[in-house]
């Protein structure tokens, strides 16, 4: 198990380094003259331009810039943001991360729980109306983009019925219930696509396991149905778990649009603003952080998979 873990860890670190380097050079190529953009509406003189450029360190050759940035990155220092009040990005992230994470993790939880329940129901009684309904709806839910779902939910549940706040994020320490209410709509909108994915995946795995030889042999030993069900779940779990890992990445992407729609100051909405204002340190920080989360989640899920499925360990 240890060798397996170390191997995954090394490839995760390699991925992070590759992404960090790749995005750095792509961003600098994408925004060749970031300084000009940062002056915003105020006109500026030549020497103000040079002063700003030096202040941001953009006058040095690209490689030294990269090395300085990378060195600081390792110590967790993302530098300061170029747009708005020049505060350290790490502080900004500290405010923004809990927002995005609350949505994404609640979305994952909703997805996993609902997906598992629907998947097991459909799996145990294949061909039942529940099963047919899930496979049919999987096509529709898969098709409809998340932001359309969120508009419908926002319109009905928030504006018309008022059960949920229309926008804004409430800090949990300030008002726990308010916090939960404020993140429910975006989380659910993101999760719906995933719920069906997991349900279908779990259902197929259960049906295959149910018709497998070893389950028939277990029944032939007289094992009660409940014990057999446990065996089914354990053999179906890996399929669902791999989907959760895939859905986590798309949740993060989905957050970019939903945070803007629900006016929540997460890393998603920050990405949209940063990319349009050419705020390079912020773009790099956001990319590195989101990929870090993806890598961490994949790593954890790999460990869980390895633990559940002994054969996967030697992969």
């Amino acid at each position: 198990m240890l060798k397996f873990t170390v191997k995954r860890l090394v490839s995760a670190v390699a991925l992070m380094v590759f992404v960090a380097t790749g995005t750095f050079f792509m961003a600098h190529k994408a925004i060749p003259d970031p300084v000009a953009n940062l002056f915003g509406k105020v006109s500026f003189t030549a020497e103000q331009y040079e002063a700003k450029k030096a202040q941001l360190g953009l006058d040095q050759p690209i490689l030294t810039q990269f090395w300085n940035w990378f060195r600081h990155l390792l110590t967790g220092d993302f530098g300061t943001t170029w747009v708005g009040a020049p505060t350290p990005i790490i502080k900004d992230l500290a405010v923004r991360l809990p927002v995005t994470l609350s949505i994404v993790i609640l979305g994952l939880a909703v997805m996993a729980v609902l997906g598992a329940i629907l998947g097991v129901l459909a799996g145990i009684r294949p061909g039942s109306w529940g099963d047919r309904m899930i496979s049919a709806s999987s096509v529709v839910f898969f098709a409809v983009p998340g932001f359309l779902v969120s508009i419908a939910l926002l319109w009905v549940l928030a504006v018309k019925l008022g059960w949920f706040p229309v926008s804004g994020y409430i800090k949990p320490e300030r008002d726990l219930l308010g916090w939960l209410r404020s993140i429910t709509l975006p989380a659910v909108s993101l999760a719906l696509g995933g719920v069906v994915m997991i349900a279908v995946q779990l259902r197929n795995a259960i049906v295959t396991a149910n018709s497998s030889d070893y389950v028939r042999t277990l029944r032939a030993r007289g094992l009660p149905p409940r014990a057999v069900a446990l065996h089914l779940l354990r053999s179906a779990a890996p399929a669902a778990i791999t989907i959760i890992a895939l859905m986590f990445v798309s949740l993060l992407s989905g957050a970019v649009i939903l945070e803007s729609m629900f006016n929540m100051p997460g890393i998603g909405s920050a990405t949209k603003d940063a990319s349009q204002t050419g705020n390079i340190p912020m773009i790099l920080a956001l990319t590195v952080v989101s990929v870090l989360f993806v890598v961490i989640v994949n790593f954890l899920l790999d460990l869980v998979l390895g633990w559940i499925n002994p054969k996967a360990r030697i992969k």
Partner: protein, 608 residues
């Protein structure tokens, strides 16, 4: 955003087993077009395509013309869908917008195909370093939240839509890479590829003829899904403000419609509905194609509870009058019928079979594949697959007619009165658990043993079935043991509950000859020691001669002959039985055949 979902489609759709992929491609298209789930969405998409790209022909109003006087009007005669907040005609913008949408999706598709498929072929076919490297790049792309990178790219290209869509195509390539690679690996393992290489066919021809024909269908399915996702993501980016806000595009229309969601909610309906419709159409087509070319056998129609109850009821009624068999029969089956319900029809595979085995004796149940021998014993055990059900006048086990028993009582027989030994050793052990756990669990839950007691008994049984180092084997997983050892473990499991009868379904067919002899000997010893009855299903008359007391020969779901071993071998009444015996008994040696010049066709007398 939903781009990684495209990657999941490879898993969601039934992984196509190339060897058995429906071959007649011609009829795949034919069957697709005759299904409503196929032609309706196809027609819809084609209509929208013709509408969009034929836009200039329909005499539409200029989609760009602004007329503040008619801003925000509801649908009317001269503006079929009404006008947007700048007074432009919504219907013409929706039609012209189609061009932008499909153009974008086409670029994404082309890039994803060009990057994904060849690399998948190379990685799948050659493996090694290429596979490792390309696999890693694909993992990297899949772990990047694509919206972030695309937003950066939008900055790079100053909103150039084509380059942006190409970048999105790069993010969709892993979907194709994974699918092509797994399909190629599956095909690569097939013998006909080796046969082709032996026939002197070059690698390139193998890839572009043999492999391509089989992976073409899954790629078409993936394409249907990818277009849907590409359209969705393109609109998502446009809503975030990427791209030209003036030119007609579905995403652009939605973006401006959202700005006035409160004042004129109608504005968002046409683009959202159209986008949802087109994506759903592609998704449905993909799913239908998946089903047609998938390896899913006839859609098994699982019997609902009602149907099973009704059948049980009928059986119980008939059982009441069935006569009591004579006492020394351990198992007696009267008039057994087994039927399988598929989507279209109900297929009967066992047409009224009588079986019997006396206490302490061995019944050899012989027949070729498709003779219904296995289905008969599964009917006896009550372990038929979901869509199968059995009817019989009576199934007596140890003096009880199991058909009259409630399900729970009948299940109680399994493991205590009836033991079961399966055919394929490795696939009958749960890969997720250790061998020890799979032995101990039934002991504790069925035989009510304590943890330590069960563990000790398991070790004792493993030793009894001839496993040298039982303690080590207890900790191993099924994939870590040989076929022979796995079969011994399964036999240990079968006898654990001191059953009165063992039902063995071709227990040695999957084993090597020398191991087969050992296992047969083990079965014989256990059977004698514990005075159990044994029903052994086989297609090999040698096994029957070796172990059976009585024989029943089955063919096409019927019993052709039944009797004591000696009489059957000496002078079998039925010609089919004789033919079976001849085929596996002593045959003339090749030398003898050559001398006699006898036609190889006619089987000469004598045997090995």
């Amino acid at each position: 955003m939903s781009e990684t979902v495209a990657l999941a489609t490879a898993e969601v759709l039934p992984a196509v087993q190339p060897a058995e992929a429906r071959p007649q491609n011609r009829s795949v298209a034919f069957r697709f077009l005759t299904q409503p789930g196929g032609w309706i969405p196809l027609l819809l998409v084609l209509a929208i395509l013709v509408l969009a790209f034929g836009a200039p022909l329909w005499g539409l109003q200029d989609p760009m013309h602004i007329d503040p006087r008619v801003a925000d009007q509801a649908p009317s005669a001269d503006h079929w869908l009404g006008t947007d907040s700048t007074g432009r005609d919504l219907w013409s913008r929706l039609v012209w917008g189609g061009q932008d949408a499909f153009r974008g999706a086409a670029i994404v598709l082309v890039v994803a195909l060009i990057l994904g498929v060849p690399t998948g072929l190379i990685a799948g076919y050659h493996g090694g370093l290429a596979d490792g490297l390309l696999g890693w790049v694909s993992d990297v792309l899949m772990s990047l939240p694509s919206i972030i990178i695309l937003l950066i790219v939008a900055g790079l290209t100053h909103q150039n839509a084509d380059v942006l869509m190409a970048a999105m195509g790069v993010f969709m390539a892993p979907g194709y890479f994974r699918l092509t690679r797994s399909s190629t690996i599956a095909v690569r393992a097939e013998p006909y590829i080796d046969a082709a290489r032996v026939a002197g066919i070059s690698h390139t021809r193998i890839v572009f003829v043999h492999i391509w024909r089989v992976i073409a269908a899954p790629i078409v399915i993936q394409t249907a899904m990818t277009i849907g996702v590409a359209l969705g993501m393109q609109a998502g980016l446009q809503i975030l403000g990427v791209g030209d806000s003036q030119a007609p595009s579905w995403g652009g229309m939605m973006s401006s419609a959202m700005g006035s969601l409160r004042t004129n909610a109608w504005l968002i309906v046409p683009p959202a509905a159209m986008l949802g419709l087109v994506i759903a159409a592609f998704a449905i087509m993909g799913a239908r194609l998946g089903e047609i070319t998938g390896n899913r056998s006839e859609k098994a129609k699982h019997l609902t509870r009602a149907e099973k109850a009704e059948l049980a009821g009928a059986a119980a009624a008939r059982a009441a009058e069935a006569t009591q068999p004579n006492q020394d029969l351990m198992v007696a089956v009267k008039g057994l019928k087994v039927t399988y319900a598929t989507a279209k029809a109900r297929v009967e595979v066992v047409h009224g079979v009588d079986l019997a085995v006396r206490k302490g004796e061995v019944l050899g149940l012989v027949g070729e594949s498709g003779s219904g021998k296995s289905q008969s014993i599964f009917a006896l055990l009550g372990l038929l697959a979901g869509n199968g059900y059995a009817e019989a006048e009576a199934i007596w086990v140890d003096g009880q007619n199991v058909l009259t028993l409630p399900a729970a009582k009948r299940r109680a027989l399994l493991g205590r009165t009836i033991g079961y030994v399966p055919q394929e050793p490795i696939s009958n052990l749960d890969p997720m658990y250790t061998i020890g756990h799979q032995l101990v669990e039934p002991m504790r839950k069925v035989l009510g043993m304590g943890k330590a007691e069960a563990r000790a008994y398991a070790l004792e049984l493993l030793a009894r079935v001839g496993i040298e180092d039982p303690a080590r084997v207890m900790g191993l997983h099924p994939h870590e043991v040989s076929g022979g050892m796995a079969q011994r473990v399964l036999i240990a499991g079968a006898v654990a509950g001191h059953p009165k009868v063992i039902v063995a379904d071709e227990p040695t067919t999957a084993l090597d000859v020398t191991v087969q002899a050992e296992v047969l000997e083990l079965l014989r010893e256990l059977q004698r020691e514990q005075g159990m009855a044994l029903v052994i299903v086989t297609h090999n008359f040698g096994v029957v001669a070796d172990i059976a007391d009585t024989v029943t020969v089955m063919k096409d779901g019927l019993v052709v002959e039944s009797g004591a071993v000696g009489s059957i071998f000496a002078h079998a009444a039925d010609p089919y039985t004789r033919e079976l015996i001849e085929a596996s008994s002593k045959t003339p040696s090749r030398a003898a055949l050559d001398e006699g010049g006898v036609g190889a066709g006619a089987p000469a007398k004598g045997g090995v």
